[in-house]
Amino acid sequence: MNKYKKITLDGLIFQNPTFMLVLGTCPTLGLINSAFSSMGMGLTVLVILTLSNVLISLLRKVIPNEVRIPCYIVIIATLVTFARMFLEKFLPDLYDSLGGFLALIVVNCIILGRAEAFANKHNVAEAAVDGISQGLGFTLALTVMGIICEFFGKGSLFGYAIMDFKIAMLATPAGAFLVYGISIAVFVYVVDGVQRMLRVKANKLARENMLKEAA
C-alpha cells in the first residue's frame, strides 16, 4: 500500500509534472488564460495518460526495446485522436476552446515521459495509479494557474464575469509565462517549507525518543 501512496504523492507534489518536472509547458502557456479550458485540458491529459500508461504497461513485454518509442507514439497518437473524436461529438464547447492544443497532446512530454520513465518498468496497477496521480497533478496545477490568469487577466472565473478591472497581459501567453514562473517559485517554496517543518518535527521526536531510551 505504501508503494501506491508514494506514487500518488510523487505525481501530485514531488514529481508534479508542471511545477517540478516542468513538462507540458506548451499547452500550459497557451491555455491558462481560461480556467475552463485549462481544466478541460488537464482532464483530457489525465484520461489519455492513464490509458496510455495502462496500455504500455500491458505491452511492455511485447514491444521490443529497439522500437519502443515509435510504438509508444502510435499508441498515444491513437488515444489522442480518439479523444478528439469523442470531445468533438460529445463536448463541442470544450473541443472549440482547446483548439489546436488538443492535437498537440501527442507530443506532450508528460505522456511520453511517463511511458518511458515509469509505465514500461512497472505493472499495470502501478502504471494506472501513476497515470491518474500525474494527470491529477497536471490538472490541479493548470486549473490553479488558469484561475489566477483568468481572474486577473479577464476579470472572470470559469467564464462568469466578476469584475471590470483586468490586467489584460496576464491573459496572454507572455503573462502566462510570468504567472507560471511565479507559481513554480511559490510551489517549491511551500513544499520545501513543509518538508523542512516535517523534518524538524521528526528530528525532535527522534531526539526525545533517544533521551527517553537513555533515561
Binding site: 514491444i63 521490443p64 522500437v67 502510435v74 499508441i75 491513437t78 480518439f82 473524436m85 461529438k89 471590470d164
Partner: protein, 470 residues
C-alpha cells in the same frame, strides 16, 4: 543471413510488433470514426442549439434585400418547430469604428411580430469595448419589446461604457425586425427616408426636413456619432441650386478636448458647398478617411468634422427626394379641408401664389380639384374648378363653377360667412352657402379660405422684400 535466421532475429520481431500495433490502432480508429463522426448538418444544428438551448428544426429563409440602412442581414432561418419564429443573423452598423454581428430570434404570433426572443453576439469587428456588453443588456431587447419599437441608445438600450457598440447592436436588432416585417410578413414600414441616400449617418427618428423660405429645403438633422464624436444636431438649408445656403450646428457632439473647429460650428465652411465638394474629399461612400490621411477632415476633432461633413452630404444628396417627400403644408391653416398629398402650390414671379388643390369631400360632395391664384394683395385673382365634385342631382352654381364669385374675395369675406373655424353653417341657415348645392359651395369656400389664409406661409415676408428690390 538465411530466411530462417531472419524470422528469428530481433529486426523481424520489431517489424511485426510495430506493424501489428499500427494495424490494431488503425482498425480501432476507423471504427471510432464511423461511430463518432460529426456531420455538417449537426454542426449547424449545434450553432442554432447554442442560441436556443435545445434542438429545433429550421428552414433556410431567403433574403432579397441584404443591405438595409443600418444593418446587413447575413443569414435567416425560419424555426418551424418554434411556431414559425425567425432566426436572423444581422450585422449592425454604427459601432465605435466597426460593426457587431448578432443572432436575433424574432418571435411571430398571428402573422405579426410579437417579441424578440433572444439576442446573442456572434462576432464583431473594430469594437474595443465589447467586453462591457453583458448578457443583461442583450436580455433588455426581449424584455423591452413593444409593438413597433425602434431600439435606440437614447431610449436606454445601451451599456453606458460602450454606447457605440450598443448602438450597433440596436441597429442589428432593428435590422432583423425590419427584415422580418418587410420581407417575411409583407408589412410596409412607414419610413419617409426610404429613398434617401446616406441615411446611415443620420438618426432617422429625430431628423426632419421642411421647405425653406427661399424655396430650398431646411433639414433639422440629428447626425449619428462616430468614434469619439457624439450625436450632432445640425440645421442645414439647401437652396434651389443644390448648394448649402445655411449651416448651423445647434448641438455640438464633440467630446472634451477635441472641440469642433469654429468655421464648422457656425457653418462658414459649408456655405456654397456642393455635393461634389464633399464626395471629392470623402469619396462616394463617405468613408472615414483615417487619421493619417491629410485631408480637410483632419482637424483637431476629425471625428466630429467627419460627422458634420456626412450630414452635409446627406442634405445635399437628398434634395430631390426630400422635395418629393416634403410636407408642403406644414403649419398651414385649414389643411383639414384639403388632401395634402395631391395638392401643391407655386409662387409666381409677380408674387402671386397659384394653388392646385385637391379638396376633401363633404357630405354629398365628392372631391373637388380647384386651381386658385391669390394675388399679392391677398385677394383671389383666379379661381378655376378643374374637376367638379358635385354629385347628381345637385349642381354647382354657375358663378362658383366659373369662379367669378370668388375673384377679388378676401379671407374676411369668407370668415364673415363661415366664421373663423369654417364650420358648415347647416342647411337651414340662410347664408351665401345655401345654394342649390350647399355642400359643394361649402367645399369651394373652404378651399378659397385655405388659399387666402396661407398666402403668408407660401410667400414669406423676407423674399417679398428681396424681390421688390429687383
Amino acid at each position: 543471413m538465411t530466411a530462417k535466421e531472419f524470422f528469428k532475429s530481433t529486426s523481424f520481431k520489431c517489424i511485426v510488433a510495430l506493424l501489428s500495433i499500427l494495424l490494431v490502432c488503425g482498425i480501432f480508429l476507423t471504427i471510432m470514426h464511423g461511430l463518432l463522426e460529426v456531420t455538417a448538418e449537426e454542426k449547424l444544428a449545434r450553432a442554432i442549439n447554442k442560441i436556443y438551448g435545445k434542438n429545433v428544426t429550421t428552414e433556410v429563409s431567403d433574403i432579397k434585400n441584404k443591405e438595409l440602412d443600418l444593418a446587413t442581414i447575413e443569414e435567416a432561418y425560419c424555426v418551424t418547430s418554434e411556431g414559425g419564429n425567425y432566426l436572423v443573423k444581422s450585422t449592425g452598423k454604427g459601432g465605435f469604428a466597426g460593426t457587431v454581428t448578432c443572432w436575433v430570434v424574432v418571435e411571430i404570433k398571428d402573422n405579426n411580430v410579437s417579441g424578440i426572443g433572444k439576442v446573442t453576439i456572434d462576432s464583431y469587428v473594430g469594437e474595443t469595448q465589447m467586453a462591457e456588453i453583458k448578457q443583461s443588456f442583450l436580455d433588455s431587447f426581449s424584455t423591452g419589446y413593444k409593438d413597433g419599437i425602434y431600439y435606440t441608445t437614447d431610449d436606454g438600450f445601451k451599456v453606458s461604457s460602450s454606447t457605440k457598440s450598443s448602438n450597433a447592436i440596436c441597429n442589428a436588432v432593428n435590422g432583423a425586425l425590419q427584415y422580418v416585417k418587410t420581407e417575411k410578413l409583407g408589412m410596409e414600414t412607414n419610413d419617409i427616408f426610404k429613398d434617401f441616400a446616406y441615411t446611415q449617418f443620420i438618426d432617422k427618428k429625430s431628423t426632419t426636413f421642411k421647405l425653406s423660405k427661399d424655396g430650398g429645403i431646411t433639414y433639422n438633422i440629428t447626425a449619428n456619432g462616430y468614434g469619439y464624436a457624439d450625436k450632432f444636431e445640425i440645421e442645414i438649408t439647401v437652396s434651389k441650386d443644390k448648394t448649402i445656403s445655411a449651416y448651423k450646428v445647434t448641438k455640438d457632439g464633440s467630446s472634451g478636448g477635441y472641440e469642433t473647429p469654429e468655421n464648422i460650428v457656425n457653418g462658414e465652411k459649408f456655405i456654397g458647398k456642393k455635393l461634389e465638394d464633399i464626395t471629392a474629399i470623402l469619396g462616394e461612400g463617405l468613408e472615414y478617411p483615417g487619421d493619417d490621411l491629410n485631408t480637410e477632415i483632419n482637424t483637431g476633432s476629425s471625428n466630429s468634422t467627419y460627422v458634420c461633413y456626412a450630414a452635409a452630404a446627406f442634405a445635399l444628396a437628398n434634395y430631390d427626394v426630400a422635395l418629393a417627400n416634403i410636407d408642403m403644408f406644414e403649419n398651414f391653416e385649414y389643411v383639414k379641408f384639403i388632401n395634402k398629398s395631391k395638392s401643391k402650390y407655386v409662387v409666381n414671379d409677380d408674387l402671386s401664389v397659384t394653388y392646385t388643390l385637391n379638396v376633401n369631400s363633404y357630405g354629398y360632395t365628392d372631391k373637388f380639384e380647384i386651381e386658385i391664384t391669390v394675388s399679392k394683395d391677398n385677394t383671389i385673382s383666379d379661381f378655376k374648378i378643374t374637376k367638379d365634385g358635385t354629385t347628381d342631382p345637385y349642381e354647382t352654381p354657375a358663378n362658383i363653377a366659373n369662379g367669378k364669385k370668388f375673384i377679388g374675395m378676401k379671407l374676411e369675406d369668407i370668415t364673415a360667412v363661415l366664421g373663423e373655424g369654417l364650420e358648415y353653417p347647416g342647411d337651414d341657415k340662410n347664408t351665401e352657402i345655401n345654394t342649390g348645392a350647399s355642400n359643394s359651395t361649402y367645399v369651394c369656400y373652404t378651399a378659397a379660405a385655405f388659399a387666402l389664409a396661407n398666402y403668408d406661409n407660401c410667400v414669406p415676408a423676407e423674399s417679398e422684400g428681396g424681390n421688390a428690390n429687383e
